[in-house]
Amino acid sequence: MNLSIRKVQSGAVLFNVLLFSFSLTLVFTLVANLLPQVEGEAPVEVEIDLSAMTMDGFVSLGESIFSGKGTCTLCHNNMGRAPDILQLNMVATSTERMADERYKGAAASVEDYMRESMLDPSLYVVKGFGQKGSNDTVSPMPTANKAPILLTDVEMDAVIAFMQAKDGNDVTVALPEGLPEKSAEEQAGASAVAAVQGPAETAEEALGKFTCTACHAVAGSESMVGPELNAVGNRLDKDKIRESILNPEAVIAEGFDAGMMPADFAKKMTISELDMVTEYLLNQKGGQ
């Protein structure tokens, strides 16, 4: 065969092969890019000023841990892998479980039972939820105060408070006193609780100092206790934002309860901090 024709032919083959291969690769890339883009977030350290904590705030903290750092909702949902805590009346359920003949634990109260379930899940495994082949004697649940979850005692108390309060039952957990016990990671990376320092230098610092992220979805937090603030700049103007901070009871957002947000920011915040936070929130227009 003529050499030049052969060259053209082999050139054509190479071209076709490359075109086909790259096109197919692009199809796969397209598929990946058309799907919902969800980025996993590493837990963000949040400073909580526990000396100013109310019981309602503590319960809200527990709720945010339940769906956040505690990663409880990964299994405790309606998919059948673990008891659906959010649907069950946990106080009634705990009482039932403690009365079960299979229960061999040492808990004397609902609060104890809940704490025991977090620290030693295999002590009592609810029927049907044990690891396959263990005949409901080994639980697949990780220990809450060990890695990878690493909840502190205070955080576990908050979760217990949430589980008790969510169905309208009494909360028996005591509020933590004084400075909080921090988990190892927070100890390693924590700065001092900002309550007694000078005014915050930046908006983010102020948000941390006044524990806004404990209840509001803003600056990396996903808490749903209060209205989300990631796009608040679209909803409220400057005056309304200031009013919401200084006089939270004036307007309650739809779907949320009164009496949850601290009402004493007017006394605690400096004017510069208020201005910074307001400015910051005005610029939160969502769409990141």
């Binding site: 197919l24 969800v38 996993g40 299994c75």
Partner: protein
């Protein structure tokens, strides 16, 4: 006569020496480990615990701060500022690309000697020289790949040490001597590789051929050992064993290596490598087929392509089972990790995986069907092809159906949730298990039909044999569907999960029974003529689709493996506080995968070109030969 006996004895001596070498190697590895362990303390209670617990209380670890000769080394606790960057580029992205390239090539160079050995053995047994020539050609293609693997390996090591020095320091401390063994094994690998390749025609016949096969075997033994050693690092990062809560070593090297995920990954990677290697060789054959200028070359490369596809699909069929075992072990180790992988943030990824595997199966099947045109005997079976295709496409669509729909808030209100009423149930595992198992069964059917196409069966019990085979298919298919529908939708979670094993076993029964029954049915069968080379050019593109999909799929699975560790370098032991400590979104990951796939394709083309180049002889120009 005397020289025969002399030769036989020489062979025996050589073979014995080789086996002794292998044995010595294995013994020295385990002995060195024993020595390492013995140099520590005598009892568990005296073992090193971490002294610096970073603020955690002593009760939690029962710390006994005794210094016992081997420095205690808890996993470092790093902060964001402890991580370095090169030129502002994300460190994770750099390591991602380099590591993935290394893994692609490592998979290739481990796989090729495996099936080359088998092909060479078939050639030695059957006396058909075509097999030996093809085995040699495959080795030739892969020679360049070995050095590229090493280059990327070295680059990876440098990248890891520069970008994650504390992590590497910790890992080196944990694995210690084992890493040295890994490095030294490359001497053995190179030794056997060069001997195996360069002695091909020197040790071609008779007893020397058996020596050559032994060299190939040794090459594979060393290669597999290297794979197993490296797998231990990655599975340790996911499910650490032999260390305490703070990361200090408490067990011997075997305890550290033999975590719950080690053997599942070993099996999965071993089989997947073979499938991957077959696919890449198939691409080479397809390329040479399309550029062939004479019928003889066309026939040769057609046959090579068929064999490579055969290897790729055959190795591919058991892969879902190995993958299932891996996921089951992940779930058993940590339900959190399991759910993150399949029910949580990474769930959509498995839809992408469905697309890729669908591509692989459809391409493989299409190639088989196209190949049926090589022989007239296939006309008996061609009517089945459209039904097989229909089943494959339907199953693929079911597999690709997601559970949760991509909806906006208002659409969700209209629908009354995030699941479709009718199609929602198709999005959960039972439906997908049915789909996958059926796809595998029907792919095997294509396989079996192709193998029967060029034969006329002559055994007396053919009637019963065929009845048995058909029954196995029918009952297996019914069983797969029954197990999936009944246990999947009408019983509790534990039975639902357990039923997938029953489905998998049903599929395996079909495959194993098919192979065994056909082996016996083909005895003395009349072979119909088949024309190698008589296949469409179009079919060759299926052989390109295969490695492209395989490569992208490998990268995708690597993304899962890495991501299930979430924000941990070593899960539960060493936290990841780098700027990249989040699971990247799938679009970003997809772009990375495309980059590495394209890079790999380019490198592979280079390898093919070099292989072709070594065969090319430039004709001496006239002005040098003729009279001036």
């Amino acid at each position: 006569m005397n020289s025969d006996i002399l030769n036989k004895n020489k062979i025996r001596v050589i073979l014995s020496l080789l086996f002794a070498l292998m044995l010595a190697g294995m013994i020295s590895v385990s002995v060195s480990n024993e020595v390492y362990a013995a140099s520590e303390i005598t009892s568990i209670e005296d073992r090193i615990r971490s002294v610096d617990t970073g603020g955690l209380s002593a009760d939690q670890f029962k710390v006994e701060p005794k210094s016992v000769g081997f420095p205690p080394f808890a996993a470092p606790k790093l902060k964001a500022k402890d991580y370095s960057k090169i030129m502002g580029v994300s460190s994770r992205s750099i390591v991602w690309v380099v590591a993935q390239m290394h893994l692609f090539f490592a998979a290739f160079v481990l796989a090729v000697p495996l099936f080359v050995l088998v092909i060479e053995w078939i050639g030695a047994k059957s006396g058909d020289e075509r097999y030996d020539d093809m085995a040699h050609e495959c080795m030739k293609i892969s020679m360049t790949a070995f050095s590229i693997t090493a280059i990327f390996g070295g680059l990876l090591a440098f990248a890891l040490f520069i970008l994650y020095p504390q992590f590497m320091g910790y890992m080196m401390n944990v694995f210690n001597t084992q890493v040295l063994v890994y490095a030294l094994l490359f001497f053995a690998e190179s030794f056997f590789l060069y001997l195996y390749y360069y002695s091909w025609y020197a040790y071609r016949w008779g007893n020397k051929k058996w020596v050559h096969l032994t060299l190939g075997l040794m090459l594979n033994v060393v290669g597999t050992t290297i794979l197993l050693l490296a797998n231990a690092w990655v599975t340790f990062m996911m499910a650490p064993t032999g260390v305490d809560d703070a990361g200090a070593v408490t067990g011997g090297i075997w305890e550290i290596m033999r975590g719950p995920l080690w053997n599942p990954i070993n099996l999965h990677r071993f089989i997947a490598n073979i499938a991957f290697g077959g696919a890449v060789i198939g691409a080479y054959a397809a390329y040479k087929f399309l550029s062939a200028t004479d019928l003889k070359a066309r026939a040769h490369y057609d046959w090579m392509g068929y064999t490579a596809n055969f290897i790729a699909i055959l190795a591919f069929l058991p892969l879902p089972f190995a993958g299932y075992w891996l996921m089951a072990e992940i779930y058993a180790y940590s339900q959190q990790m399991g759910i993150t992988a399949m029910g949580g943030i990474l769930a959509w990824l498995f839809i992408v995986q469905a697309v890729l595997i669908g591509t692989i199966l459809l391409a493989g099947n299409y190639y088989l069907w196209s190949g049926m045109s090589r022989t007239k005997g296939s006309e008996r079976y061609t009517w089945m092809i459209k039904y097989i295709a229909m089943v494959l496409v339907t199953c693929f669509l079911i597999w690709v159906t997601p559970h949760t729909l991509i909806l906006s808030a208002s659409e969700m209100k209209l629908l009354g949730g995030s699941h479709h009423h009718l199609l929602g149930p198709l999005g959960i595992m039972p439906a997908k298990n049915i789909a996958v198992n059926l796809m595998l069964i029907f792919t095997f059917l294509s396989f079996q039909l192709y193998r029967r196409s060029d034969k006329e069966i002559t055994v007396g019990w053919a009637g019963f044999g065929n009845a048995l085979m058909v029954s196995i298919y029918v009952v297996a298919i019914v069983n797969v569907i029954f197990a999936g529908v009944y246990y999947g939708y009408f019983t509790n979670t534990v039975y639902k999960v357990g039923s997938s094993v029953a489905q998998v076993v049903s599929t395996l029964v079909v495959i194993i029974a098919g192979v065994v029954i056909d082996t016996y049915m083909f005895k003395g069968a009349k072979k119909l003529p088949s024309e190698w080379g008589k296949v469409s050019n179009r079919a060759q593109y299926a052989l390109f689709a295969l490695p492209v999909a395989f490569t992208w799929l490998m990268a995708l699975m690597g993304y899962v493996r890495s991501s299930v560790r979430t924000n941990w370098h070593v899960y539960t032991v060493m936290k990841d506080n780098s700027p990249d400590n989040y699971i990247p979104a799938i679009g970003f990951a997809g772009n990375m995968m495309t980059i590495v796939t394209v890079l790999f394709l380019i490198f592979v083309l280079f390898i093919f070109w070099v292989a072709s180049l070594s065969d090319t002889k430039q004709p001496k120009p006239d002005f040098l030969t003729g009279d001036k």
